[in-house]
């Protein structure tokens, strides 16, 4: 394809043409795990993301579970990387300075379904999951007091845990960024440039970018990009899951990740605490046509309630603070697609990463790095920088709080009253290695606006702070990128029509 070269000749002289070693498409948890892993090497890496922030797709709206690994079929990549990923979590989260709670999971069975627990136990053991046991009714009621009393037994997996998928993705991205990985947001890949069956670069709405290797971590769009590249085809079926989030004042109501016995349709509706102390119920599983369809539905939310009530009959639904839906990138063939293309040199697929994708992500990052090492010479860096510390004022001891407030009084000015987030923390979020540029970005980073009033109090105030700190007009501030502007006009001077 000689036109690729022709285009290259017309790049204006004043613009430096960067040749990347690796371009990662997608700043979800997989793309960021790959970026994090690759940032240990002397490589020129860029992450391209069509959204305004990290984790705007599948990684944003999922259950946030670090699975033990008894669920995937033995011998699959899912099984292997689930167990590997799970083992990496405690250390990784400590290094990234993000919360990880290894509270264990329960698959609870009612009468007649105990046999299924044995199957899961055997599968877990085949996958190399340690610590699994089946516990009886009394033990279940003992460790999960509000659970349906009709429970007969449960599969207990102590290595399961919970993490904030968003925070994990951000922490991976920030660590990668301080170690030299470039992140380009609002940058949608529209074409793949190849020459003689080798990747040359990608086309975006802002122009072309040149690279030796592309890692395709584009979530529900990955199969489309693979087709554009001309690499070995696979299909992704977007599957929607709806969730309900309940108030933090229920902290302690649910103490484990609690699953029903799985069915052919999946793991079913589960109930679990989040690392922030809320309770999460969901997901549903509905195949959808549209890859942007994250609309909640009346039927879906009713189904979540029904499913969750089978596990916890008295869950107080008047404590719901929000609902949301996410898409899973379900691979048609049933397993993760992680491979270097044999057809297109330099094309690496990381597709079909559905559950247990979050759990597997750190291991997927390592695996992708090995695949890159098969194509590029990549000497390790001598020094790596840690992720800059995040100040969480409300979680500090009184003495530390005092110290930080004395240094910067804005840490004592609470903007979000539900979550107790100070103005100083909001300004910090705008100045991080991966800066918050949108209202949702601030909410994800600081929790401001994510509490029980859902921003009713702080959102107008946040607009003022963001306009000031970002140096833009309030009309340019968006919820989650261009097209989602929050306000339309200044009031006209005269008013009236």
């Amino acid at each position: 394809m000689p036109w690729v070269i022709v285009v290259a000749l017309f790049v204006p002289q004043k613009e430096m043409v960067t040749m990347y070693d690796v371009i990662i498409i997608g700043a979800g948890v997989v793309g960021c795990a790959a970026a994090h892993s690759l940032s240990r090497y002397n490589l020129n890496v860029a992450v391209l993301e069509k959204g305004a922030d990290v984790a705007t797709g599948t990684s944003r709206a999922n259950s946030g579970i670090v699975h033990a690994g008894y669920d995937p079929r033995p011998g699959t990549l899912m099984a292997e990387l689930n167990v590997q990923g799970n083992a990496m979590y405690p250390d990784l989260c400590r290094k990234l300075d993000i919360p990880f709670r290894q509270l264990g999971s329960l698959v609870v069975a009612t009468a007649g379904k105990e046999e299924q627990l044995k199957k899961l136990l055997a599968r877990g053991r085949a996958n190399g999951v340690t610590g699994l046991s089946i516990i009886g009714r009394d033990a279940v009621l003992d460790c999960e007091p509000k659970i349906n009393t009709q429970v007969e037994a449960a599969l207990y997996a102590p290595s399961a845990g919970i993490v904030s998928p968003w925070e994990l993705t951000l922490a991976l991205a920030e660590t990668a960024a301080v170690n030299g990985v470039e992140f380009r947001f609002n940058t949608k890949v529209t074409g793949i440039l190849t020459h003689e069956d080798s990747v040359q670069g990608v086309e975006t709405q802002h122009g072309k970018l040149w690279t030796r290797v592309v890692i395709n971590a584009a979530g529900v769009y990955a199969d489309i990009l693979t087709q554009l590249a001309g690499a070995e085809r696979y299909d992704i079926l977007p599957r929607k899951g709806e969730y309900l989030l309940l108030d933090k004042d229920l902290d302690g109501y649910v103490q484990h990740v609690v699953f029903p016995v799985p069915t052919a349709l999946g793991k079913g509706t589960l109930v679990l605490p989040t690392v922030e102390g809320n309770i999460l119920a969901g997901p549903t599983a509905v195949d959808v046509e549209e890859r942007e369809d994250v609309a909640t539905t009346e039927a879906g939310l009713a189904q979540v309630k029904e499913g969750a009530a089978r596990l916890f009959p008295d869950l107080p639904w008047n404590k719901v603070i929000t609902s949301f839906a996410g898409l899973r990138a379900v691979p048609a063939d049933g397993d993760f697609v992680l491979r270097s293309s044999a057809r297109v040199r330099g094309w690496i697929d990381a597709g079909g990463i559905q559950s247990p994708g979050l759990t597997a992500a750190p291991a997927i990052g390592e695996k992708l790095t090995q695949l890159v090492a098969g194509q590029l010479d990549m000497p390790p860096k001598a020094h790596l920088l840690p992720r800059p510390e995040v100040l969480r004022i409300r979680e500090m001891s009184l003495a530390d709080r005092e110290k930080w407030i004395a240094e910067n009084p804005s840490y004592g000015q609470i903007v979000c009253r539900c979550e107790g987030v100070s103005q100083g923390e909001i300004v910090d979020a705008i100045q991080r290695p991966i800066p918050a540029t949108t209202l949702d970005g601030i909410k994800q980073r600081t929790r401001a606006g994510g509490g029980r009033c859902q921003g009713g109090f702080c959102q107008p105030r946040m607009l003022t702070i963001m306009a000031r700190e970002l140096g833009i007009s309030p009309m340019e501030i968006t919820k989650f990128g261009p097209g989602s502007e929050l306000v339309t006009d200044y009031l006209s001077k005269g008013g009236g029509r």
């Binding site: 309900l244 005092e402 009253r417 029980r452 009033c453 339309t488 008013g495």
Partner: protein, 414 residues
């Protein structure tokens, strides 16, 4: 950590907090008032419309004017005020707060809770659909427009005919936005009759009763909503759906008393009001903790908040001087009564103010206060609406010392 102590700590510097602080100060108490915002006045500051103060001052004031009357007196008086100060921890007799000068640890003789309320959100009522920009609670939109000078959208639908929703329908119209409709789930409005006349009728904005939003549309910015009529069980009726294009959806779907601190104190709560259980002195179930204003129950008019706050102040000051034990005669909501404040009476020597709301609109509404089958008091009014609070005064001579008090509402259903 800065340690201090105060006879009476008032939490919240809105109308309830200021009313209580001023009254208590006048009665001789040393008062500290804590406010999390930069200014006193609370939500009144964003209420630039008139209608405040008719009962208390016999004048029609704006929210800001009403607040300023109190602010001036607070600033002139002996009340100590900390603004931009957020209470983070509370226990009986002790309040911890944070502000830009650090953590404040305050020993409190008595505490008056006056934190106000917050708005119910989309999440709380679970409107299905995507999550685009352009969906606001009515109060948040009111702040954007009236305080920050920003218009949140150009073509609006308002869900909920509570007073803030009605006021915002007019406000948006005056600023050049088109308000397509106000949809109300119930077969009657939750707003004051005068607001329906002045905010909707005067601007030809349709009020769609028994109607709700069943779906929002638009992936990035709101593009429209689907409205549907609801049946008697408030369930959307299939076939009644209609699409209405809009870029702004305001929610005025109820207010919730802001009782996070009450939870920390372990106060007995009333599920009907969403606020603490109190006696006629506005004394909660925890000794030395009082509550007034919208944190106790959502009021219709600020004038009544002020009056209630004065009773709370009197109760707290009295308690500071002689801590009599509480005993209680429960006050129970009977037929067609949504809730009553106070929920219990401690026998005392003064008359008692009973505030309550009806469940359903009534004409020729007859209220009966009885104890053990004996009528203590009755009153008939031409009409009673859920949107409007009803006040009855029970003379001291009629207060029973045992048993329970029951309030019923009879009359003709509208």
């Amino acid at each position: 950590m800065k340690k201090s102590s105060s006879e009476l700590v008032v939490i919240g510097g809105g109308p309830a907090g200021m009313g209580a602080a001023l009254e208590a100060s006048q009665l001789g108490a040393k008062v500290l008032m804590l406010e999390r915002d930069a200014d006193l006045g609370g939500i009144l500051q964003q209420c630039i419309h008139t209608g405040f103060g008719l009962h208390l001052f016999g004048e029609e004031l704006t929210g800001g004017e009403y607040a300023q009357r109190f602010i001036d007196r607070v600033r002139d008086g002996k009340i100590e005020v900390l603004t931009d100060t957020m209470v983070t921890e509370i226990a009986p007799g002790r309040v911890q707060a944070v502000n830009s000068s650090g953590v404040q640890d305050i020993k409190a003789g008595a505490i008056i809770l006056a934190m106000g309320c917050r708005e119910r959100t989309r999440g709380a009522i679970n409107i299905p659909g995507p999550r685009p920009a352009g969906i606001y609670t009515a109060g948040a939109a009111q702040r954007l427009i009236n305080i920050q000078g920003l218009l949140p959208g150009r073509r609006a639908v308002i869900l909920g005919s509570g007073d803030i929703g009605l006021i915002m329908a007019r406000r948006l119209t005056l600023e050049g936005a088109k308000v397509e409709a106000v949809a109300e789930l119930m077969p009657w409005s939750n707003g004051l009759a005068r607001n329906i006349a002045q905010c909707l009728d005067d601007f030809s904005i349709p009020l769609l009763l028994s109607t709700t939003v069943v779906q929002v549309h638009g992936h990035r910015r709101l593009e429209g909503v689907t409205l549907a009529q609801v049946d008697e069980d408030l369930q959307p009726m299939p076939g009644s759906e209609r699409y209405m294009p809009c870029d702004l959806l305001l929610l005025s779907v109820g207010l919730i008393p802001e009782n996070e601190l009450s939870g920390q104190l372990g106060l007995e709560m009333d599920p009907r009001t969403g606020g603490p259980v109190v006696d006629q002195f506005l004394h909660t179930s925890v000794d030395g903790v009082f509550a007034c204003g919208n944190v106790l129950h959502v009021h219709d008019l600020v004038d009544f908040v002020t009056m209630e706050s004065r009773r709370a102040a009197a109760g707290a000051v009295q308690w500071l001087s002689h801590r009599q034990p509480q005993s209680s005669v429960p006050v129970r909501a009977g037929a067609n009564i949504a809730y009553i404040v106070p929920q219990r009476l401690t026998p005392g020597d003064g008359a008692v103010t009973l505030l309550f709301r009806v469940q359903q609109p009534m004409t020729k509404a007859k209220f009966t206060v009885s104890a053990g089958g004996h009528c203590l008091l009755h009153k008939t009014v031409p009409r009673a609406l859920p949107a409007e609070m009803v006040e009855l005064r029970l003379p001291a001579t009629k207060m029973p010392t045992t048993g329970e008090i029951l309030i019923d509402c009879g009359g003709e259903q509208r």
